[in-house]
Amino acid sequence: MQPLHSPIPRLRSGGGRISLTSYGTSAVFSELASTYPLKVLSPRIVARGLAVVYLLTYGGGLVGGDQIELSVKADSKTVLVLLSQGSTKVFKIRPGRRLASPGVSRHSLTPPTSIISPLVTYPATRQNMTFTIAAEGALFLLPDPVTCFRSASYNQSQTFYLSKSASLVVLDWLTSGRMSMGEEWAFSRYYSANEVWVEGKRIAKDIMLLDDQQPDPIAKILSRTLADRLAPYSCYAMVMLFGPLVQSTIQDIAAQFDQIAIFKTKRPAEMVWSLSPMTSESGAIVRVAGKETESVRTWLGQALLGLQETVGIDVYRKAFP
């Protein structure tokens, strides 16, 4: 016979598990666990079948070598909202070493000189997340943008497994860097993959890779930097929408999109966005680029306002203050 409490598999450093179960009319966490440097917190929400979790990292950021592995499950008829608190900062190395980092000797508080030498390639930061959403369940992943600092290397993979009548909203966005420090698109690599499977069939796979292509000796033409390619915008956002709970939101955005008529302009607008339906009828992709992060946030808050019906005004304001 199985022991009554089967031992929960140990989480390795940076690991996390969230499991939301419906219990009568309410949603309860059957699991909510994480290990350093990841931290998951759930504020008390008074709403039926709804739960909010903040995904946090100590110090508000990630450093080279950090590996986050998170698995999330939302049971049928539950609504899980995942948020962050402030943008996720990705450093090349941590300013001031992290004492509890695995492999760091507690005796050497100052990093060996080789770590700060610019010739060394730093280990990349990785974040892998898997989400499973049962029938009539919903996951709204609405974090703040990622900000990669100079020379940072960031890799994020998010995979979503949905049942047929599940709903999904994924917001994935980034800013050009620490603009106050004069950093604009100065990181070395940003890789973000979002893959959506519905009932065992892949319906969308978005892979965004931003890196400076190494100047090539063959090309005699001045190569284009990342900043050249993305100018004049400094914030890029992608939203995936899928499922019954977001149909009216998609329709609202589509109506707005169809009303746009583009006449030739002399210079690029402050903000530009697009909407594409997915091949699978009940999904859509929105992309936004803006010169200011805040204007992109305001636009997103307006465009996704329909989600308020599901999550309520208080929770919605946590995502879009």
Binding site: A193, I207, M208, L209, L210, D216, I262
Partner: protein
């Protein structure tokens, strides 16, 4: 296939009159200019060429490569007589299955509906081109000898079936997949196929800019002569070894993050997806 044969195929495929539907596609250039990204005509076109070619190479070339591999493998096995007649069908079915899987992955990764539409129509046009334009004339009096006829039959059979799958909407027939299939069926080596595909992308952008009246035909020719070549060569060097990771012959420890297809130009993606919103336009994409 000897070098002369290959050169002749290259000449045929690089013909700008080839009915491939590329003359109605601007790959986002028309929308880019409309949105105010034009500073001076020549530098704007070169800039767009660099960004668009870089993005296209990174997202599409892995699919050209893998589709070419699938068909090339079948073709060589058939040529070497390594397949029993009974197994032939099985090998062909496996090839079609692989191609459909590649096509499906490209479809789910091309999340911009305008690009998806253009890619499908150009892919289907390539399949039609093969069956109508590259098959042997039926009147046997025109050509003598039956050399290479069997091999031809095996390939045209494969393409015919793939075309039928596209018609029944069992597969999408996206451009990079169909290009890999077509060139491998004609016996063009992989690297030449990749090179030509990128070259044609660049050339069709230049013809689009001529049609848009942003550049004269001589300037376009000048860019083709002096600018496009190093650009194509450097993108080819960067992307020729990329794969999709779908086929069994990929390395065991295939790292998708390093070697897989990706979208590298989100700005181009947004502008291209806004194509249909232009008050007036002359292209379909």
């Amino acid at each position: 296939m000897d070098d002369d044969d290959e050169t002749y195929i290259l000449l045929l495929l690089s013909d700008s009159n080839l009915p491939t539907g590329s003359f109605v596609a601007s790959s986002g250039l028309e929308s880019y200019i409309k949105h105010g990204f034009m500073t001076s005509p020549t530098s704007t076109i070169v800039t767009f060429l660099q960004d668009s070619l870089g993005a296209y190479a990174r997202s599409a070339l892995p699919f050209v490569t893998d589709a070419h591999h699938v068909v090339e493998r079948l073709r060589t096995r058939e040529k070497d007589g390594g397949i029993e007649t009974g197994d032939m069908r099985e090998c062909q079915d496996k090839a079609l299955e692989d191609l459909a899987a590649l096509d499906d992955l490209y479809d789910t990764m091309t999340l911009n509906h305008v690009a998806r539409r253009a890619s499908k129509s150009q892919g289907v046009a390539l399949l039609t081109l093969y069956s109508k334009g590259f098959s042997r004339p039926s009147s046997s009096s025109v050509i003598s000898g039956a050399e290479g006829c069997d091999q031809n039959r095996c390939m045209s059979d494969l393409l015919e079936k793939f075309k039928l799958m596209a018609r029944k909407e069992d597969t999408q027939a996206h451009l990079p997949i169909c290009w890999g299939v077509l060139t491998a069926a004609l016996g063009l080596a992989l690297e030449r196929s990749q090179y030509l595909h990128l070259f044609l992308h660049a050339r069709s952008l230049l013809s689009a800019s001529v049609r848009l009246n942003d550049m004269g035909p001589y300037s376009a020719q000048q860019l083709l002569m002096h600018v496009v070549r190093p650009l194509v060569a450097s993108q080819l060097a960067r992307c020729k070894d990329l794969r999709t990771g779908l086929l069994e012959d990929s390395e065991v420890d295939f790292d998708e993050k390093i070697l897989g297809p990706a979208n590298t130009w989100p700005l181009g993606e947004i502008l291209a997806a806004r194509h249909d919103l232009q008050h007036s336009r002359i292209f379909n994409s």
